[in-house]
Amino acid sequence: MSSPAQQPRSILDASGNLVGENPLPLDRIRELYAAMVAGRTYDRKCSAMQRQGRLATYAQFEGQEAAQIGAVAALGTEDWVVGTYRDAAAMWFQGYPWVNLILGRTGDERGGHAPAGVNVLPPSITVGAHMIHAVGIGWAAQIRGESTVAMTFFGDGATSEGDFHEAMNFAGVYKTPTVFVCQNNGWAISMPRERQTASATIAQKADAYGVPGELVDGNDLLAVYAAASEAVARGRRGDGPTLIEALTYRIGPHTTTDDAGRYRSDDAVASWRARDPIERVRRFLEVREAWTAEWQHDLESAEAERVEAAVAQAEALAPLGPAEIFDGMFAAPPPTLLDQRRRAEGQGHA
């Protein structure tokens, strides 16, 4: 195993030119393009709804669509996704419905109830603790002799948490089928990547755990997919975990409550907008006559309608009542909790 390269792997450059071997057929690239457009439509819709007061705090992922869709594209339906509050596109692409994500952002626990057969955990809100869960999930598959893989998403900030070390270390020692996808988006709220670690790259940290690590252009759908599919295959054949550092950028603020103007310049954002992950695939497709403005329009309006429908569905659901807040705690609530539930119901709206 050689040390991870210091330059990111690149297949599709910022202008949409192929600079490496394309791992995917054109039809599949069109599907993934549509998924990225869907993700951005959802993301912008949620930002707008937050400003209207219809959602609680919202964490945008604009600019990270290729990192999320490209990685999940390498998974099978039975595989797991363990992500965070900024990984909505990844979760959705693995089968977690928009309505669940929106419910969560309206402040409703029922958003965390993934449909049966969709192996996506509710988004982790605390930073860093969830990576080891993907280790345990992969380990369970290993113990049962199954070939399921668990993929976990996290940011550059999460690699500063001690839990990153424990997760990488356990995965390395037990060779669990876990794919670690670090979306290095440059910022942890107001702290730049340089203040998280003195390592030249995050990918190189894998080396210390005896785990393969790879730095990829996280805005390059094809490069992310190629790295992820190799990592998934490695996990499936019993050769253990992989750390992928997807170099990308958080175009928006940390959340809708954040003012990024306090700590970074517009110039930096503009330079990353020029490396947009969606636009470069659009150009790639257009050159191959696989993209039209009409298709784009149809994609965006269809997805906006789906998101609207999900919002309507979420808003039509009555909030949990006083009794129902007790019902998620245990399979069978103990007498002490039933007593408290009666008291909570009795107080009505007083």
């Binding site: 280790v135 345990g136 992969g138 839990d163 424990e166 103990p334």
Partner: protein, 323 residues
Amino acid sequence: MPERNIAQALNEALDAALAFDDVVLLGEDVGRTGGVFRVSDGLLDKHGALRVIDTPVAESGIIGAAFGMAVAGLRPIAEIQFMGFSYPAYDQIVSHVSRIRNRSRHRFTAPMVVRIPYGAGIGAAEHHSESSEVIYAHTPGLKVVVPSNPYDAKGMLLAAVEDPDPVIFLEPIRLYRAVKGEVPAGDYTVPLGEAAMVAEGSDVTLIGYGAMMREVRASIGALAEQGISAAAVDLRSLAPLDLDLVVGAVEQTGRAVVVQEAPRTGGLASEIAATLQERALYSLRAPVERVTGWDTVVPLRRAEQHYMPSVARIVAAVHRTLA
């Protein structure tokens, strides 16, 4: 029926649990050495390294990995060597293990057991003598149980493994080999959430749990010699508390002394005293007494005895309720 101590009874329970393919035992030194208290002795050889797992030294990692296994459908039993070592795993337990059922509204669950040897009285090193049960009992979504005898130890551990929710299973270090009793050979369970009346009496009701049950039982004899008839309750379950049984037992005598090894302030004894004044005030003939550890760090070996609740302190508390 064979005689077993608590460590042996727990070993039998683990052995029986590991007969199921979906049960995994993991922790520091649980395999090759059989655990620092030898509770899992012989299980690695019998059940294999795939499911009896010696982990790296990382408590957060142990609980986080066990959580992932549980979410994916296994029934892990994670061991933390000493209660004072559980704090690095506290975030995993409180932020994830205890909450996944609620934050996924039953879609995902964590049917796992966290075994934690706890308590003072063996002159151990610093951080090896903690009784921090209340921080887990205070956490919504967890069950916290502690046996005080071999029969309960085996039956409650098997019940904890069967339980669909996470169970913090405390093991009284001081009693591992100090208490013997008859233990059935096969599988059986002792229901979680239920306290036990361990002695009937008419003058006062002693309420304790875990390692302190040895002092409680000894106090019954000491009081009897003074002509005082003491009833006694072993809580066994600290979350949820079996308050109906406790209230009923105190109503019988009108006096209550609650014994806990843990520090005094905000402990389970306080919760029980508060509940008794809510639900049994008119039966009480004296204020509820608490006999507890102090709000100090557990003293090291040479001064440890000043901390531990003793038979003398329990008897003195009973006398105050009778005064």
